[in-house]
């Protein structure tokens, strides 16, 4: 009797696991389909504007790290023929140019020491409003993105996380 109860319990556990896996898979497939269904924006060049923080006070090292990692990660995607820096004169002559604007609206500076000692606290978080505009200044894409560092790495790693997410936005939305 006891043995059969154990067996039923085991079966139930396996069934729950299978259902969870299938639903997660279906969810990600749905997200991929949704992304594929949206028409991609055509742009051959992107200009990365210096990161702004109108609403909050952001330490300059975070501002610069966000900017530099954005350029690095967007270049890595290979989606654009040219990735121009803020102020680059050559950007004016580029056709199909989009400009990436980042405005930080939320910042929580955690602590690397706390993260490593406690695992659960000390998270660094940066919330950024990302906007892509065309040459005429019209918004072609707008989205909020969050960069985080939860466990390993210094506080600046949150800026790298953000840049990677923006690079993924470029991959999903630009052709």
């Amino acid at each position: 009797m006891k043995r059969s109860a154990h067996f039923v319990g085991l079966l139930l556990g396996i069934a729950t696991l299978v259902i969870a896996t299938v639903s997660v898979g279906a969810g990600s497939a749905f997200a991929q389909e949704k992304a594929a269904a949206q028409p991609k924006i055509h742009a051959s060049a992107v200009q990365v504007a210096m990161v702004q923080s109108d609403e909050i006070k952001l330490p300059i090292q975070f501002q610069l790290a966000l900017y530099e990692y954005l350029i690095q990660e967007i270049t890595k995607t290979g989606k654009f023929q040219h990735v121009y820096r803020d102020g680059d004169k050559d950007a004016a002559s580029a056709s199909d140019l989009v400009t990436l604007h980042s405005n930080v609206f939320g910042f929580k500076q955690g602590s690397e020491g706390k993260r490593q000692v406690t695992t659960v606290s000390g998270e660094t978080q940066i919330k950024v409003h990302v906007t892509f505009t065309d040459k005429a200044g019209k918004t072609v894409l707008s989205q909020d993105t969050t960069g985080k560092v939860r466990f390993l790495g210094g506080n600046l790693r949150a800026t790298f996380d953000y840049a990677k997410k923006v690079a993924q936005i470029c991959v999903n939305n630009f052709s």
């Binding site: 090292q61 610069l64 803020d86 004169k89 020491g113 000692v117 390993l152």
Partner: protein, 177 residues
């Protein structure tokens, strides 16, 4: 207390004070050149250099030069549009060893994380020949960033916050939230 014992105690105290004084003084400017800052870590931002490399930051002949082994990156000081300093801490035992120590048994890695070194940060923005903006971040030995900022300004770099004002801001105790 007997006289020889008291004099022994006083001389030991004097030695301890001298030692503490030498530790507290900013130490990493190179001998003979007050504009050079050894043991500076370039976190990111200099063209042609990997992230997080140690080297020497120098301000001379109207330029800022970062030297790492045989590699040398030069930025004309006139192209530097902003220089800001700050304070931070980093793990005393960092890098790969620091990361691997997280897997040490009995929370050994977590214990090591408690040991942190105070450092100064130096952030600067500069423009390249095309007008493109770059940002660079450096980590320096505690007490050196303001000196480095002054050295850069002497060479022709610009800033929106004068070093004296920045020193006052950093000297003020942080407000409690």
């Amino acid at each position: 207390m007997s006289m020889p014992r008291a004099s022994w105690f006083l001389s030991a105290a004097a030695l301890v004070l001298i030692g503490a004084g030498s530790l507290a003084a900013p130490a990493s400017t190179q001998e003979g050149n007050p504009m050079s800052f050894a043991h500076t870590k370039q976190v990111l931002g200099l063209e042609g250099l990997k992230h997080n490399v140690m080297g020497t930051l120098a301000a001379e002949n109207g330029s800022v030069i970062f030297t790492q082994g045989k590699q040398k990156v030069t930025v004309p000081a006139a192209n530097i549009t902003e220089v800001m300093t700050g304070k931070d801490t980093e793990r005393t035992i960092g890098g790969t060893v620091g990361t691997l120590s997280m897997f040490a048994p009995y929370g050994g890695g977590r214990f090591l994380s408690l040991f942190r070194t105070k450092v100064d940060t130096l952030a600067l923005t500069y423009t390249d020949s095309n007008g493109g903006t770059h940002g660079a971040i450096f980590i320096m030995t505690q007490g050196n960033a303001l000196g480095a900022k002054k050295a850069l300004l002497q060479q022709g770099a610009k800033t929106s916050v004068p070093p004296e004002e920045e020193a006052d801001t950093q000297a003020k105790p942080k407000e409690k939230k």
